[in-house]
Amino acid sequence: MSVTVRAYEHGAGTALIRDALKPLSRGAHASAYVAVGDVIDTDDSDVFLKGHGTQVIGDRLVATQCGAVTRTDKLISVRPPRERYVARAGDVVVGRIVEIAGKRWKVDLQSQQQGSLLLSAVHLPGGVQRRRNAEDELAMRSVFREGDLVSAEVQQVYHDGGVHLHTRSLKFGKLEQGQLVVVHPGLVKRQRSHFISFEPLGVDAILGLNGLIWVGPHLPRGEDGAPAAAGGGGGAAAAAPEREVRERAVRVAAAVRALAALHLQVFPSSITEAYQLSLEKGVAIKDVPQPAFLKLLAEHEAARRHNVMAAEAGGF
Amino acid sequence: MAAAPATAGSSKPASVPLQPLPRPATLVADGTRLDGRGLEEFRTVFLDTRVISRAAGSAYAEFNSTKVMAAVYGPRQGERRFGFSDTGRLNVEACFTSFARREGGRQAQRAAEKELASCLAAALEPSVDLGKLPKSVLDVYVMVLEAGGSEAAVAATAASLALADAGVELFDLVAACSVSDVSGQLLLDPSAAEAAQQRGGLLLAAMPSLGEVTQLQMSGDWAPGAARDALELALGGCAQLRAGMRDTLLAAEAARQQQRRRDGGDGGGGGGGGGAAAMQE
């Protein structure tokens, strides 16, 4: 039973990662922060592609948003630090049902508009794709209720910003047996699969591109991706995970929070590294998102990037 | 602060300012309180049900100078703006009559009414099986006619009786009582004069048959051990009170049955039989 009282430092996480990575940035490849209207250094090269958040005025590249300059080969773009999630077709997202209205569920995606999950876009129990009838509409609440978390895929984004979701594959649907970690959407990048299974740990994670991440103990799934637990959705009430598995799942969630505090990208290998580091250093789960471990994690990341850059330089 | 008497010939009667609450030097002497009670005795308790004919259920509780009336309306349709709900809603409103309290203007009275309402809601909610009342609301209205000490406790008791009288499905009756720490001595069911001089006060509402506490409010300053003793005293008091509440409800029902038999078949279901249970220790 311990209590800590310490001084509050504004933006402690940002300061830590900035200090750790400062020695690595050099020259034009430095991540400079620019404000609206600033001219971006293009290395005196004529051949560049203007990316998001920039425009060409005359012969100069000017920023249209405040943020960090990112360069990918010849593509120069400006990423604002506090962007809200913008949906694109094919995105895997995690959202919370907020309303049931006329044959559709309204889903909060932490985006500018709520997502719509139509009754016809949902996989109903019974397996077979069948026509939705009036009874289904009355029984919508028995499928998803207000407050439930669901994983879904963005089916289509309309020109007025409306987002339509679907859960037609069995791997999508109501989320049970786990906890939600909310991070900034910019920290989750598009990947081959957003349904991660940390095999040796027995922990599963769903990385929603809108910044909502679901972490929980591994739920066995069948070939088609459907949960194989008895009674599908009712499996939650059936078997509570054992204490060890739960501790590992909670540690993974804490690792995700630590990465988010340092504004580092969240993807399977970064989560695994943060997890392993916390075990190596014998950090208690509740201390993982705290400044002491964040410092270690920032230094670890700096060392990793240094090695990567050294390898690249050596390869030339 | 005595008022000057009205002079002869003036048409307006002189207004008599409220006397401040008397503060006797000793409240307890040799284990006997000013009104002759022992330290762990309730005041004279009078409980009655079916006092308001229009309400689904109602009750009146009088602990000497603290008089509270409670009425229950419902269950009835909840308002749409609260959205869908699997469980019912308990809505409690409390008011003090303008002559109920000695001190405080309208502002203070409104604040006290809000506080009392939320205190009662918390005390009563665990006892009501709201799961059996989806999309419905139960309105409980409590009126304090005279505030002579421990109003919240008496109000909770009256409200719980009213809920039982209304036929709402309850897990148990809720009995509530207060305990005051006056100069190191614990007094059960304090009067206003005793509460005014307390070093620490405690309100406890419980469901005695289930052994569960539904509301706890403490104020003032309590030594660690004294708090525990006060809690145990209050729990005992609640158990006593619940027995009285049960007697009231059963007596009322017996009287109603007798009345029905006397009236024969001519539609006379009216008139609540008053079942009064006076508790004397």
Binding site: M1, S2, V3, T4, V5, R6, A7, Y8, V98, G147, D148, L149, L175, E176, Q177, G178, Q179, L180, A236, A240, P241, R243, R246, E247, V250, R251, A253, A254, A284, I285, K286, D287, P289, Q290 | P20, A111, K114, E115, S118, A122, P126, G200, A206, M207, L210, G211, E212, V213, L216, Q217, M218, S219, G220, D221, W222, A223, P224, A227, L231, L235
Partner: protein, 284 residues
């Protein structure tokens, strides 16, 4: 204020608590770390801002000279108000936050009235006393707001300085004494040793956890908030939540609060002493 949370998440949390593992890895008797900033509002006589998890609260203290209450001529006065800013949560807009704020302000005020040395706030008995106004602002709700407010209030009061007052008696017998406020820079501190901190203990299933987070609060059938002073003295207690608490659980929760409260006070006092020492070292 309740967070939006699904039944599945609540079940996961409840099962975890039963096993002694909370969602953030804490044990049932672990409180979250407290991050404190002092003197954040220059115009106030004392102020503090506290971060606990996602909860962010700020307390400003202003003192003024007033005539005492007729019923208590030899005591100063203390008032607390709590505002839940609409910026903090869309749930707070309109009346919702107001009622919650009123309840918390009442709890804080009652705790302070019985623990601050009000007799020491008298300038001229019967005529002039100090009135201490605490204005509390809830900037973000991450669970445990009442506890956070109590810690911030104690910290703000600890750094509050009462301006020096010079009383010159009138020349004649009927003349009113003159009261002059001294320089703000030299003030007297207030006696805050007995000011309690509020420890929240939630009942989840059959276990109790201290300092519930925002996601744990909706899982709790009941939460008890105890104002605990030094030595485990109890100041005040309130219950929130619609569930009943079995008698043995009630005593267990009381015990847990009486264990944790003094620890929080010790750490807080240590931090305040260290900051004061650092501040005077800087000034020197």
């Amino acid at each position: 204020m309740q967070a939006d949370i699904s039944d599945a998440e609540k079940l996961y949390i409840a099962q975890g608590v039963a096993q002694g593992v909370r969602n953030d890895g804490r044990g049932c008797h672990d409180a979250r770390p407290l991050e404190l900033e002092l003197g954040v509002v220059a115009q106030a006589n004392g102020s503090a801002r506290l971060h606990v998890g996602a909860t962010d609260v700020m307390v400003g203290v202003k003192v003024s000279l007033v005539s005492p209450d007729a019923a208590e001529p030899a005591k100063g006065q203390v008032f607390a108000t709590v505002e839940c800013s609409s910026c903090a949560s869309p749930e707070f807009k309109g009346r919702g936050g107001e009622d919650w704020g009123i309840d918390m302000a009442a709890a804080l005020q009652s705790a302070l009235q019985s623990s601050l040395d009000l007799g020491s706030l008298v300038v001229l008995a019967g005529k002039t006393v100090w009135a201490v106004h605490l204005d509390c602002l809830v900037l973000n709700d991450g669970g445990g707001v009442l506890g956070a407010l109590s810690v911030a209030a104690r910290a703000a009061l600890a750094v509050t300085r009462l301006p020096k007052v010079e009383v010159t008696m009138g020349e004649g017998d009927d003349d009113e004494p003159e009261i002059e406020l001294g320089d703000d820079s030299e003030g007297t501190p207030m006696g805050v040793t007995r000011v309690p901190v509020i420890v929240s203990v939630a009942q989840i299933g059959s276990r109790c956890v201290v300092d519930p987070s925002a996601e744990e609060e909706p899982c709790a059938s009941a939460v008890l908030h105890f104002a605990v002073g030094p030595g485990g003295r109890l100041g005040a207690a309130t219950k929130t939540g619609a569930g009943g608490i079995p008698q043995p659980a009630l005593l267990e929760m009381l015990e847990a609060a009486q264990q944790l409260g003094p620890k929080v006070l010790r750490e807080l006092d240590g931090f305040l002493a260290a900051s004061a020492a650092a501040a005077s070292a800087r000034a020197a």
